[in-house]
């Protein structure tokens, strides 16, 4: 908040409490970041991956984290989610450190890691039912609709180990159709998807951003469909 304090009129402090992300003040839109990383440094196995990284993500923005293999894309995502503590620096969500508000941030977050958190012995429907019990309680019908949306109708009761890698990824991505969350952190969401599914996911991500959601994701894939507020973060620029 300090960074932008100079640009921001006093009224913003009143609005912060209502947690609106954009407001008009004298005809000028004032925005402040919902997700903010300050001077992040990440060190793994005594090797510094990136240093003093600053990132501000506002409502409606999509950030693609790019960079060569081993540049710390997954680590950055894990830091943003609060799964890992940074070597230095801080990550904030709505102006408070993520580690201090796991509970409230978790309500607004969908995390799909590289390892997607699916149980191979359970069917897609059972997997999603458990996930929604864990995060956002959802009716059986909406689970069916989410599976339908990712093209898995007819596979509801097949154990996940019988599904192909792409189909398993689709089961994981069905979470994006279930939960009304604002922040999506996706690690390599396009892996193993076929062309149609890639197109559909791009469109879904773009719609989410147009509605005011935030998406931070990693991929080496070049996006065909970009929302209006799309940008790339190249980790190579922050490498130590």
């Amino acid at each position: 908040m300090y960074n932008a304090a100079g640009k921001r009129p006093f009224t913003v402090f009143l609005i912060t409490a209502v947690s609106s992300s954009t407001l008009c003040n004298g005809g000028r839109a004032v925005t402040f970041p919902l997700l903010e990383a300050r001077a992040l440094t990440c060190e793994r196995d005594q090797r510094v991956l990136f240093e003093h990284l600053d990132l501000r993500v506002e409502a409606g923005e999509m950030v693609q984290v790019a960079g060569p293999n081993g540049s710390g894309k997954t680590s950055l995502l894990r830091l943003l989610a609060g799964l890992m503590s940074p070597t230095a620096g801080e990550v904030q969500w709505r102006g408070r450190a993520v580690t201090a508000q796991r509970h409230s941030m978790a309500r607004e977050l969908v995390w799909i890691g590289h390892r997607a958190g699916l149980k191979e012995l359970l069917s897609p429907e059972e997997n999603l039912a458990w996930w929604s019990a864990l995060h956002h309680p959802a009716a059986r019908r909406s689970i069916g609709e989410a599976l339908d949306a990712v093209g898995l109708r007819g596979f509801e009761d097949v154990p996940c180990y019988m599904l192909s890698a792409g189909q398993q990824r689709r089961v994981a991505l069905a979470r994006l159709y279930l939960a009304p969350s604002s922040l999506w952190l996706l690690d390599e969401p396009f892996t193993a998807l076929d062309r149609d599914a890639v197109e559909q996911l791009e469109a879904h991500l773009a719609i989410h951003c147009e509605r005011g959601g935030l998406v931070v994701f990693t991929t080496h894939h070049r996006l065909e469909k970009q929302p209006s507020r799309y940008r790339q973060l190249d980790l190579a620029a922050w490498a130590a």
Binding site: R115, G117, L122, H135
Partner: protein, 223 residues
Amino acid sequence: MTGFVRSLVLREARLLFRRPAELVNPLIFFALVVALFPLAVGPQAELLRELSPGLIWVAALLAVLLSLDGLFRSDYEDGSLEQWMLSPRPLAVLVLAKVLTHWVISGLALVLLSPVLALMLGLPSQCLGTLILSLLLGTPTLSLLGAIGAALTVGLRRGGLLLALLILPLYIPVLILGSGALQASLQGMSSSGQLLWLGSLAVLTLTLSPFAISAGLRISVGE
């Protein structure tokens, strides 16, 4: 609150029953150790009966330890634990429900198997009540304490031995009290003192260990 605990119990039960080997292996281990012992010692009924309390308890303890090594492993490897960390549900409640479900399914089977093995060793039938009661009170403590070690070692490639080294010292009081209760009842004395101690240890671990387990998991996932 209760809704997600029910879903969790259902999930864990499904996972255990769809991979029955994990469930059955510790039981087979338990039965094998107890069954092999008389063969090694020889047909000395008196000696076997004297040894049976310690033997049954050591075998049960090692069987529980064996079953715990993989408690969080698959959840760690497929990324489920990350979802648990990032859930609005309290992690301590989740892990407590998971460990207790695991105990109800695998630990209870062990308790039910023990009288058969005890009779095989020549333990008098009037001691069976104490045996079952001591295992019922003792094994939840073993499961919960072992889960702390399992949570800390889940991220390591070969955590099995480390788990045993970490956890066995904590198991010693339970072992002494459990076999002590059985020993007392074998000699015709009251075992209520040991059983009450086992009960209070169970309550203590039931209250405190969920926090230690969730802290351990946060460390392992945060690596």
